[in-house]
Each structure stands twice: as C-alpha cells, then as structure tokens.
C-alpha cells in the first residue's frame, strides 16, 4: 500500500500488494493461520451511514483477531450535535484506538480522517469514491474460483455513477489483469470513464457477451435525489439479470452482488439463489479479507 498504515482506496495500489492481501485472506479463509494479531487492541467502527453487513463483517474479523471492537454509532453521538468529522475522529483516536474503520456518505471522508489522526484508518466506503474491502473480497471470491483473474472479463452492471463498489472494483480487477466492462442506464454512467481503461456500454447483452463474471450493483434508491430511470419494471427489463439472460451466459460464468439484493430489480430471485450465484460466498470471504486488511494496516 502506498501508505501501509491505511487502506483508503484501491486506486494506485500495486498488484503485489493486492495479491499479498488476497493470499493472506486465503490463509485465513482456509484456516491455515489462527492469528490473534490484534489482542489488546481496539478497533473502532465509525459508521455515518447505515450498514449491517460491512460493519458486522469488520466486527467479526476484528473480534476473531482478538481485538476489542468499539461501535461508534452516529445517531446519539456528537456527530448529530454538529461536531466536525475531524473533531470526532480525533476524539475517537484519543480513546487509544488502533484502527478506525470508517463509513461516510461523503467522498474523501476516510482520507480526511486519516489526515487528522495518528492511528490507522480503513475506508469502509466513502460516498461515491471507494469501498476497497468490498473490491478485495470480490476479487478474492473470483480468484478463489479461478486461480487467476488474468484475461477474465468482468461485467459490472447498474448505477456506476453513484457506486463506490464499481470504482474500487475497476481499479482492483484491472490491476489483477482482468478486463472490465461497465454497463448501466446512460444517466448512471459518469463522464471520463473511457480514459480509465474500461469498456462502457448501455446494452446489457453487449456487456454480458463473453463475460466470465457479472457483478450486479445495488440500485441505491436512498441515494438518488432524482429518478435516473423511469421505473423499476423498465430497469429490470433492460438492465436486470433475468433468468433468460442468466441462461445465455457462458456455462461457467458466475454472478456476484455486494448486497443487499433488491430481488426482482437487479436480478431475479432465481438467479440470486441459483447455481451461478456466489453472493453468500462473498459474505463468507468478506470476513477473511477484512482480517487480512486489519492485520496489514495494524
């Protein structure tokens, strides 16, 4: 990592660093290491946005490394009393916390926290910027399946504009040698994507053609101030992974979703629970990946 004390994003991380994290995660996943590397340390989960799975995943990971986990909830804390993010971060660090895991609705929030404190900071999702541990667990899930991501084609479908998962995955997958195609409604595809070395299309069938993996993004209804498409039914028709589309995929193609799934919107219930789906495995792998991340920054 460019600054090994923190994990703020995937962009700019060298391939070796990513591979080290994946293989360490693999050791945890397979039970090759028991490691209680964080005994006596405090890991603070500071979540400004509601999140159950990411927060729980970090909590389980930290606890199984022996750390004490402090869940700093925002409602009822000083954040709702107008305290600045910098102030809150300094106060949490002053409790003797070793690692702050932060989720915030604004892009750049984790970097701001990292600039303000002396302890380690892990970005658990900042606005529309990055969600590095999610990208690592997605990459690990594919890597575990395939052995290598080199030359694999991964389609990422949905609200690219608002998705930190899409950004982190783009950087991670490309660094590991995969080819990435973004697909979504034109209103959800931000400008400048082409210069990031990603194929961009609004036609789902084009994106799915030859794909080895399909990552369906969650439609964040709560994040859309304006409707970016006319209706859920239309979205499902044009950009949803329907049973028919899933059936037409390459025989060994897999389906991922960062969760929680809007069943019947991004993908049909049958696809979510079907043979191709790695959705539950992603959750399982998430703990191992986050153990590797917490260990790496500690």
């Amino acid at each position: 990592m460019s600054d090994a004390r923190h994990l703020l994003g995937i962009e700019g991380l060298p391939r070796e660093t990513l591979e080290q994290l994946l293989s360490r995660a693999h050791q945890y996943r397979e039970g090759h290491v028991g490691g209680r590397h964080l005994v006596g340390r405090v890991v603070a989960n500071v979540f400004y946005e509601p999140s159950t799975r990411t927060r729980s995943s970090f909590e389980v990971a930290a606890a199984s490394l022996g750390a004490h986990v402090l869940n700093w909830t925002v409602s009822g804390s000083s954040a709702s009393k107008g305290e600045t993010l910098v102030d809150t971060a300094k106060n949490i660090a002053a409790l003797g916390v070793s690692i702050i895991v932060v989720r915030h609705q604004s892009s750049g929030a984790a970097a701001l926290v990292a600039r303000s404190v002396h302890c380690s900071v892990v970005n658990a999702g900042d606005g529309q910027h990055e969600h590095p541990s999610q990208a690592l667990l997605d990459a690990y899930t594919l890597w575990r399946r395939w052995g290598s991501l080199e030359g694999r084609r991964v389609a990422i479908v949905g609200d690219i504009l608002h998705s930190r998962v899409a950004r982190s995955n783009l950087h991670c997958l490309k660094a590991l040698g995969a080819e990435v195609v973004f697909c979504g409604p034109p209103t959800m595809l931000p400008g400048g994507l082409a210069s990031l070395g990603v194929e961009v299309t609004t036609e789902l069938d084009v994106a799915l053609d030859g794909a080895d993996a399909v990552m369906m993004l969650r439609i964040q209804r709560e994040r859309q101030s304006d409707a970016l498409f006319p209706s859920a039914a239309e979205y499902h028709r044009r950009w949803g992974l329907t049973n028919e589309r899933a059936a037409a995929l390459k025989s060994d193609a897999v389906v991922l979703h960062p969760g929680p799934v809007n069943r019947g919107l991004e993908l049909s219930p049958e696809v979510a629970d079907g043979q191709r789906s790695l959705i539950l495995e992603q959750v399982e792998n998430g703990v191992a990946v986050r153990k590797a991340v917490l260990e790496a920054v500690s």
Binding site: S106, S107, G108, A109, L112, G127, Q128, H129, G191, L196
Partner: protein
C-alpha cells in the same frame, strides 16, 4: 499632506498613458501627473521602476473584517464591491462599495429595492432560476443604466455538484456540475437581453462555452460584460486531487481547456475584467469532507499573479484589474489630476504589490518613504 511617487512607469489605460513619470498627491487627491512634479515639502516614495497604476477594483468579494481589508490591500485593491447579503463592514482603509441585491433576499423572485448609492445590482452567488425575473430586472434597470450582475447557474443542472464534470470528478466520486449548468443560463440570459436592453454582466464565468457565447453576443452589439476569478484562471479540476480544499470553490473549477479559453477571453476582451470572489472560510467550515465544506478561497492576493499568467500587454493587464471594472461600475478612476487618489504600485518582476495610496493614506513601509 503632500506625497510624491517617483521613478515609476505610469500606466493608465483610460488616459492612454504609459510612460515614466511622477505623481503628486495633495490631501488625498491627485494634484499633478507628469515627467516631473513639484515635490517641494512632499514625502517622496521612490518606486524605482515599478508600475504606478490606478488602484485595482474588485467587482465582488466578501469583506467580513479587517483581515479581509488587509488581504485586499496586500493584493493591490483600493476599491471593493461587497457581495450583497453580507454584513457591510465599516472601514476607511479601503473604498468599500455596495451592490444592491438584484432580487429581494437574493431569492430570485421579486425585484430588490435599489439603494441610491449602489454601484450595481447583483445577485451574488445565487442563481436566477426564473427567466421572467431577469427580464423584468433588465427592463427596469434600463432607465437607470446600472450594471446588472448575475451568477449563471441552473440549479437543476448543478444539483449538489461541487466540481466540474470530467475524469477527476468521476475518479474521486465527487458530485459534478455539467458545463450546461452555466452555459445554458448564459444563452438564455443573452436572448432576454437582446429583447430588453440594459447592461448585463456575468460574474465569474468558468467555461469555454460561456466565453464563446459572450463573444458572439458582443459581436452582435449586445451590452454584455463578464469577469473571471484568479482561481478559475489558474486552477482546473485536477486541483481536487486528494480532496484538496484548494479546489473547493464556487462556481466549480473546470477543465484545462476551459482555463485556456478563459485566459484567451481575458486577452481578447471577451472577458472584461478580473474579479476576486474573495471569501475567507472559517476553520470549522473546513473540517468536513470536500463536498460538505463551505466553498470559497482567499483570492485578493492571487489576482495579480493569476493575471500575470495570461500573457497580457502591460496596459491590458492594468485594464482588467483596474480601469475595466471601474468603467463597468461607472467610477472615475485613474492617474488624473482632480480625482481622489486610488493608486497601486506593482512590482512587475515579482508580480507583487509594493503598496498603494488610498486618499490621504498609503500602505508603503516606513523605510520607503523619505
């Protein structure tokens, strides 16, 4: 009190003057300008080759307290128009002028009452979403000839954006503002101006499209003018890298191409003037993530260095900082006997300010004055 500025290059675009010479100031008024003035009994300031020019005039900034006054003086400004809606500061160290709010509470709905001493009407940083209001304002102002200063922004296009759309915004995941948020409003306003008459001024334009639209309107003879800020002349969206708050300004920063177009526009006269948008943001308003921070930057001292990057002829450089904004406001300034002294001395090697004379006061350090 008599004061002489000696040994400078006098540049005054209004008087078409660009020659070595001296200026005599008596009791706060310019008394004589020429190759040699009567320095008997006067304090003499030797400026050794620096440019002696009409004091800089800023069309819109926020001056909250003496720190802002200091910054304005350090930047060479002798006259500043306060953005309406800000609490006016009382000071005699700087000429602070008032802009009348174009609409009541700048809400964009009903015409604001025009203060008699207002030098212009301004909408500050607030958009005018309703075209009909601008039309009425232009019609009404036509009889008085006051400049109408607008902020070109379509709020429904700007949304919650904080930076110009493009690669940097996409990579950093920052909500962005399309070019059309500015350009569409400028196009609309120019069409209205064509029907109504009046003098319309676009504050802080940021895009190449805006420059093109204004150039075309000028060519057709419309009474339109525009200004650009120091930051939009020197920074593009890449300044937001690492979420640097240098880039947290409003209107948002744009692309490299836009910066080049703004510089060219300032050179060829499409953009009439520089204006600062100096806004000093409190420390607490900076302890948030990029998009949640209050926008603004301390721009007074960036003005001269920014204009110096635009490859302007010396007289054009002085014009955009001084004579052009003064003319837009209908102020009489310059190195002309009989006018109140408002003079700035520029070091053209370091692009820094040596000092200024405002009325009976001056800001030159003690050792320089003999």
């Amino acid at each position: 009190m008599r004061l002489v500025l000696r040994g400078g290059r006098l540049i005054d675009p209004t008087a078409r003057r660009d020659a070595p010479g001296e200026v005599l100031i008596v009791d706060g008024e310019v008394a004589a300008v020429g190759a040699k003035v009567d320095a008997a009994g006067a304090q003499v300031i030797a400026v050794d080759g620096a440019w002696v020019v009409p004091g800089f005039v800023d069309l819109h900034s926020v001056v909250r307290d003496e720190r802002d006054v200091d910054a304005a003086l350090r930047g060479g400004f002798t006259t500043v128009v306060a953005v309406p809606g800000t609490e006016p500061l009382q000071t005699d160290r700087l000429t602070l002028l008032e802009a009348s709010p174009l609409t009541q509470h700048l809400a964009g709905d009903e015409l604001g009452e025009v203060a008699d001493d207002a030098v212009c009407l301004s909408q500050g940083f607030k958009p005018l979403a309703r075209s009909g209001v601008l039309r009425r304002a232009l019609q009404y102002s036509e009889s008085r000839g006051k400049l109408i200063m607008v902020h070109a922004e379509d709020p429904s296009l700007a949304g919650n954006g904080v930076i110009g759309a493009g690669l940097t915004a996409t990579r950093l995941g920052l909500p962005s503002v399309p070019v059309a948020a500015e350009a569409a409003v400028i196009a609309r306003d120019l069409l209205i101006l064509e029907e109504t008459g009046g003098r319309l001024h676009f504050a802080h334009v940021t895009t190449e499209r805006a420059v093109e639209l204004i150039a075309a309107a000028k060519k057709r003879g419309l009474q339109v003018s525009a200004d650009v800020t120091p930051h939009h002349l020197t920074l593009d969206t890449r300044a937001a890298e690492g979420y640097s708050l240098t880039a947290r300004v409003w209107p948002p920063l744009r692309s490299e191409t836009d910066v080049a177009a703004l510089r060219a526009g300032l050179r060829d006269g499409t953009i009439d003037a520089l204006a600062c948008d100096h806004v000093r943001v409190g420390v607490l308003d900076r302890e948030h993530p990029f998009e949640a921070c209050a926008p603004g930057c301390e721009a007074f001292e960036q003005a001269l260095p920014a204009v110096a990057k635009c490859a302007l002829e010396p007289s054009r450089l002085v014009e955009v900082l001084s004579s052009a904004p003064a003319r837009l406001l209908g102020l009489r300034t310059g190195l002309t006997p009989g006018l109140a002294a408002a003079i700035t001395v520029v070091d053209p090697n370091a692009w820094s300010i040596r000092g200024s004379v405002i009325g009976a006061r001056h800001t030159f350090p003690a050792g320089v004055v003999t």
